[in-house]
């Protein structure tokens, strides 16, 4: 689970007057344009561009911004007769059209996973695992890099990227102080590794959930394709970071022994308050991971989406740990939930207004340029934009565009030929691009925040010099890997009919 929208640890305050004026000006401008007879797709396209542009500037809280944008879009669309209330039974039980636009599966995964992750954190399990892994390193800087990087990948594959960064980053600070090492290379590497871990499974990051479910990719299929790449990228990045930061293993036996004594002095059980709760949490976590992996083979559950596993996991954990239920529920990322409610509504309106079709038409030229150029264009451009701004809206918009192509696959030969590669290119590009700049991913922002607190200031350009090299290497590897994986049959052409059916079954509440 990853790519939380709380990418800035510092709370931002917008000027309410400026926002109100901006909303009024934009609304009036759109109304006037519509009155002038300008096509809906251009007017709503302008509204989408303004909302996404403001999102990239990060001057206003993302949830507030997207809710305002979707509200204006919804009102304009209804006034123009673009949205009609579809009838589902009697009017008292009819769902408003904007409710149907929301991908409740994604919302369910966010809420469920936040709750069970918070409770498992409280059991001390993650901290316990972290200390155990630290001890494996023996305090040797290079082994420490391997262990912390591995830990980051695994944690970010199953937790929110930010949570993974916070856990491993905190341990890094404490361990490096004790071992008298600079924490900077380790923390920057961990920021990079959260994005690799975020690629590992279908639920490792929100772009994965959005794009993967839209493409109809199963959890295990996702893991089979992304797993080998994550391993390759892990090793390559490891040596790259080692080279860039000149991290050398200890050669002196005395130093090795001294470092070992220092890390052995960590007591992993100090992180655990209640061992029964600890063991139960470990059990539930294993069950949740298995649940996600085997979801499609579990009777009854396979008729519902993956969110049901997250919600069951959360419920079980709340039953086990009834203390401070309100405190746990307060930890739900409501900003993220509201952001998604707004984003899905906004994109739903854009779909009805023909904006997504228009974007699709614009993208058709580069994407249909050939089975090599198309996926490369998709991967590298999505990576570039993910590096500059939040990758969630980007992934959501492009997933909608690709969905549009997929629904017309009979008429689009090129999409039938290599559409599957475009889906994967989007997943890899959106996932890896975050490493490009320090604001490209929430976890890197956290890593740099921790470093700043410890007195190390990393400037934008200092980071880009490292991030750009890392992204170039990772994208080059990903490009080669995807084409190689297709050749050896790891990536298969999608049976769109089957995928769509499964998606509807698996994500009953999905508004696609």
């Amino acid at each position: 689970m990853s790519e939380a929208t709380n990418s800035k640890p510092v709370k931002k305050r917008h000027n309410p007057l400026h926002v109100t004026i901006a909303v009024i000006v934009v609304t009036i401008t759109c109304c006037l344009m519509l009155q002038q007879g300008i096509e809906h797709k251009y007017v709503f396209g302008l509204l989408l561009a303004i909302t996404l542009g403001m999102l990239a500037l990060e001057k206003i809280n993302k949830a507030i911004l997207v809710l305002v944008g979707s509200g204006v879009a919804l009102l304009l669309a209804i006034s123009q007769g673009l949205l009609k209330q579809e009838s589902h039974g009697d009017s008292a039980h009819a769902l408003p059209v904007y409710i149907e636009m929301i991908d409740w599966g994604t919302i369910g995964i966010i809420i469920g996973s936040t709750i069970f992750v918070e409770l498992i954190s409280r059991s001390g399990l993650f901290a316990w695992i972290s200390v155990k892994i630290l001890k494996v390193s023996g305090g040797d800087p290079f082994k420490l890099l391997i262990c912390f990087s591995g830990l980051t990948v695994v944690f970010s594959a199953f937790l929110n990227n930010v949570t993974a960064m916070i856990i491993v980053g905190s341990l890094t600070i404490v361990a490096c102080k004790k071992l008298k090492l600079s924490a900077m290379p380790f923390l920057l590497a961990e920021g990079i590794y959260t994005n690799i871990g975020g690629l590992l499974t279908l639920i490792s990051s929100i772009p994965n959930i959005i794009v993967g479910t839209a493409a109809g990719i199963k959890y295990t299929d996702f893991l089979i394709v992304a797993g080998p790449y994550c391993l390759i990228a892990f090793v390559a990045t490891l040596y790259l970071v080692r080279y860039l930061f000149k991290i050398k293993p200890l050669s002196n036996e005395v130093e090795k022994a001294k470092a070992k004594v220092m890390v052995d002095a960590f007591d992993e059980w100090e992180t655990v308050e209640d061992r029964t709760f600890f063991y139960l949490s470990a059990l539930v976590l294993c069950a949740i991971i298995l649940g996600f992996a085997l979801h499609s083979s579990i009777p009854v559950l396979n008729q519902m989406g993956l969110e049901v596993i997250a919600i069951i996991g959360a419920t079980v954990m709340l039953v086990i740990y009834p203390t401070d239920v309100e405190g746990v529920l307060n930890e739900v990322e409501w900003t993220l939930v509201l952001f998604f409610l707004g984003l899905f509504t906004l994109l739903g309106v854009m779909e009805h207004a023909g904006v997504l079709t228009m974007i699709g038409e614009l993208l058709k030229t580069p994407l249909s340029a050939g089975e090599t150029i198309g996926p490369i264009a998709m991967m590298w451009s999505s990576a570039f934009f993910s590096g500059l701004t939040d990758n969630i809206p980007l992934a959501a918009v492009l997933a909608k565009v690709l969905e549009g192509f997929q629904s017309n696959i009979a008429e689009l030969d090129w999409f039938a030929d290599y559409g599957h590669m475009l889906w994967w290119s989007l997943i890899f590009g959106a996932g890896l691009g975050g490493n490009f700049t320090p604001i490209g991913s929430a976890s890197t922002v956290v890593a740099i925040g921790i470093l700043k607190k410890e007195g190390h200031n990393v400037t934008f350009m200092q980071y880009v010099k490292i991030g750009a090299i890392v992204v170039l290497v990772q994208l080059t590897l990903a490009t080669g890997y995807l084409f190689g994986a297709e050749k050896v049959g790891l990536i298969k052409k999608m049976n769109t009919e089957k995928a769509s059916t499964e998606e509807v079954q698996g994500h009953g509440s999905n508004g696609h």
Binding site: E118, S121, R122, G124, A127, S130, V131, T163, I166, I167, G169, S170, L171, I173, V174, A175, K178, V261, M262, D264, A265, F266, D267, E268, E270, T271, E331, V446, G449, I450, K453
Partner: protein, 283 residues
Amino acid sequence: MSSVDQFTSVFNAASKTAFQFSPPKLENILIVTDLESDAATRYTENAKTFFCKTTTSEWSTVNGEDFKTVKDLLELVESRKPDLIVTYRHLHSEAWRWPHSLGEHLDVLIQVTDTPVILTPHPDKEGIPEHTMKNTDSVMAINDHMAGEDALVNHATLLTMTGGTLHLTHIEDEAIFDRYMEIIGKIPEIDTETARETILAQLLREPSDYIDSTENVLSEKRDDLNIVKHITKGNQLKEYRRTIEENKVDLVVLKAHDEDQLAMSSTAYSLAVELRTTPLMIL
């Protein structure tokens, strides 16, 4: 559990200070007296009896004629390069009768030299407990911050005779603690009761964990020793005195050097001045 600060606290708490066994070498012991030859010999014999069950070192004695001024004493110590100095308060002075200082020679010597100094009761001091200067059956290491004081514990371990008791003592200063709690009580953002309980528990836990680690290591290296830990909060001077008297301690080992100041650390100085009937080893 969702912030860097929370997880950093968890890992800081998990990061223990482990005791590392590294016994010091005390091969060359210098006895510094201001006495005449015969009296100095008697003092030396007493000192040898005191340590005979723990050390097999070379002994040498400095008499009262060998030095007069502080400068003489410092030069003498510098030239002999001993591993340990055994002496007493108020050399070449009558001020030992008034329990208010260590005397100019020791005030300077203790701060200038890195060599450990043992202060025995003054040879003319009366009212010394029966067990004093007989052996090192009961040795106590004390410090304001016990965790991580390997040198202190290693010296105390070395000087505890076979089968003896090693007391490891940490008294958290009540006055300082109460002062901080008073301030916390004025900050609405901090729950005072929680702060009182958790801070005190953590303050006492760190020395306790360190002593546990010491016990584990010494159970392998010196399994003959009986290790007793004394960890509490209170008036430091009173509590240390009480613990020393109750346990009939033969030798107290304490750290006097403070990197932030030129004078002896305050608790060590107070103890060195006031514990005039118990031998002290000052590091």
